[in-house]
Each structure stands twice: as C-alpha cells, then as structure tokens.
Amino acid sequence: MARFVANGFHRMDAIVPADLNEEAIGIFEAGLPGVPYGTPVEQAYEPGSFTRRLLEIPAIAGAVRSLVGADPTVDHHAIHIREPHEGSAQPLHGDAIIDTRIDAFDVQLMYYPQEVTGTMGGTLSVPGSHLRRTNESDTGRYQNLRGQTRLTCPPGTVVLLHHGIWHGGRRNDSDIRRYMYKIRFNPTVPQVRTWDVSDLDDPQVAAELNRYFPWCEHATGRLEIYNRVMMWRALTNNPQFDVEYWATRVANRPGRV
C-alpha cells in the first residue's frame, strides 16, 4: 500500500488467464452496455459475466478490496481502442475533474487482454503524479517526462491506478488494434486500514513513501513526500506518522493552540 501511495499505481503482469484474454477481444468488439453511475459491483455485473469473472480473479479482487475497501460501486466503465496508425496521442491528462481528496480516492482498473508492444500505443503514465492538483488535460502541454512509463506488457496485464495519475493513450504506430478495458471504482466505506496492516511498523513503509521521481523538481519532491505523509496518516488513522520529520517540523508551535 505504501508503494501505491508513492507511485499511484499497482501493476500485475499476466494476471488474467489466457482463455479470458481470448474471450475479451470478441466482447470488446461487440461492446459492453453502460453501467449507471454508482452501481454496486454485484449489481453491475451478473454472476458468470465476463467482467464479474475478471473481477473474481483472486489477485484482482484482493487488490481492489485492499485499495477501495469492501463493497465499492462502479463509477463507470469503458472500452478504449487505439486504432492502427491513428496519427496522434491523447494529451496527458487526469480523468474526470480536479479531485483534491487526500483521505479518499477512486481506483481505475486498466486491463490489457493482448500483448502490448512498444509501437502499439500502450498507455503513457507518470508514476507519482497523482497528488498534483491539475485539472484534466491542462497538463496536455507536457509531452515527455523523465521516468515516465510507456506501457508494454504481456497479455492479461492489469494496472490499478489512483484517480489522479497523469496518463494518456499513446499514438498507435503499429498495424494492430490495441484494446484496454477501464473500470472506475468508488469507495463506499472509509479507506482506513483496508489492507493487511500487519507490517505497518516495517521501516520499508517510510522508505517507499520517501521516494523521489526523476520528473519531479527536487524541491517539489519534498512537498510530494509531505502530501504522501498526510495521505498515509489518513489511511492508517495515525496522525503521528512522518517521514524525515517533514510534517512534524512545520507543525511544531510550542505554547500555541
């Protein structure tokens, strides 16, 4: 979880079995009916349906529950297709609108049923960008950033993203249609200790949160850590937690209320 708070994503390569991946292409070609905003997952997807089977894969079910907690609702879902040689990429953006929540977050599942090679326009994303307060495609001016991820992956890969991550579909320069299925989940319970918290005192937690990213100004990188500390305090209900004394130092006002 600490790594997710720092990176803004959790990636699982080839987690979906081959038979489901093969089935997915036909389903995506035919299209999926829309889901009304805020529908509980169990109501959105019938038992035995493609999406329900996808979400019941233990590693996916466990990761989604750890991140958003029990009984999430489906915000919306969509099939994204990058056509061969379509000519341009999406501008770098965050989905929906600017979202300033620090003590709650939505999770976006991105599922890639086929192998994505370097020329197929795999999703561009910027690790650690999710706590930057920007609105949708106002970041479209940025074409490339050091340390960005230009996704290539084996079939059946799933990435779970914090709602704020900067991303965009890249230009598909190949001869192959590239498919991605996205589902946005909303929490319905407080996102407090929703995962296995038996190792909260492990020093690796602070080490993960203390990460600097190559695209981020060094000075602003310290503020990113401060904001991760605030998020971690909310997720663990521990108002004393800190990394390198960043949050404690600037709140120290002896004798003041």
Binding site: A89, L92, Y142, P214, E217
Partner: protein, 86 residues
C-alpha cells in the same frame, strides 16, 4: 521563416539545471512529435539547448505559493520556452 518551439522543464529556476520534462512543436512540418514519443530528453540542461542554437524567449516567473496552499503541488514549475527559425 518557420518556427520550431522547444519547451524544457528544469529541476530548479536556474537555466543551467537538469531537464526533467520536455515538449517539441515543429512549424516546419518535418517532424510530427506527440505525447509519449521519447524517454530521453533532447538536452540535459537549458544552457545545453542555448549552445545548440536555441533562442530562449520565455521563462516561468517565480510566484510565491498562495497563503494556505504552501504544501500543494500542481504544474511543473520551471518552464523555459525556446525557438529556432528556419
């Protein structure tokens, strides 16, 4: 004359600091740059771009944080615009 525009995002407000992000727009039509088309920056610093003939025409101002929002992060801060004319 046609304009090529290079935007560099640097690590600090100093023009000789490291390039962290970049964008390129080509008015000559010779290239078709787009989002996510490269993992390597064209230059390591702003001054390296100057040495290669790029003319600086705009630099980001240093704006203090809004009171009460000192710890919030948003856009990349140190944006420098360069041009070449062909």
């Amino acid at each position: 004359m046609k304009q090529q525009v290079l935007v560099l995002y640097l690590n600090t407000s100093a023009l000789d600091s490291e390039v962290l992000a970049w964008a390129f727009y080509d008015g000559t039509g010779k290239t078709n740059p787009t989002t996510g088309d490269s993992d390597l920056p064209p230059y390591d610093s702003g001054t390296e771009a100057l040495r290669d003939g790029w003319r600086l025409f705009q630099a980001a101002q240093l704006i203090p944080p809004y009171p009460g929002h000192e710890y919030q992060t948003s856009f990349l801060k140190h944006e420098f615009w360069f041009e070449k004319l062909e």
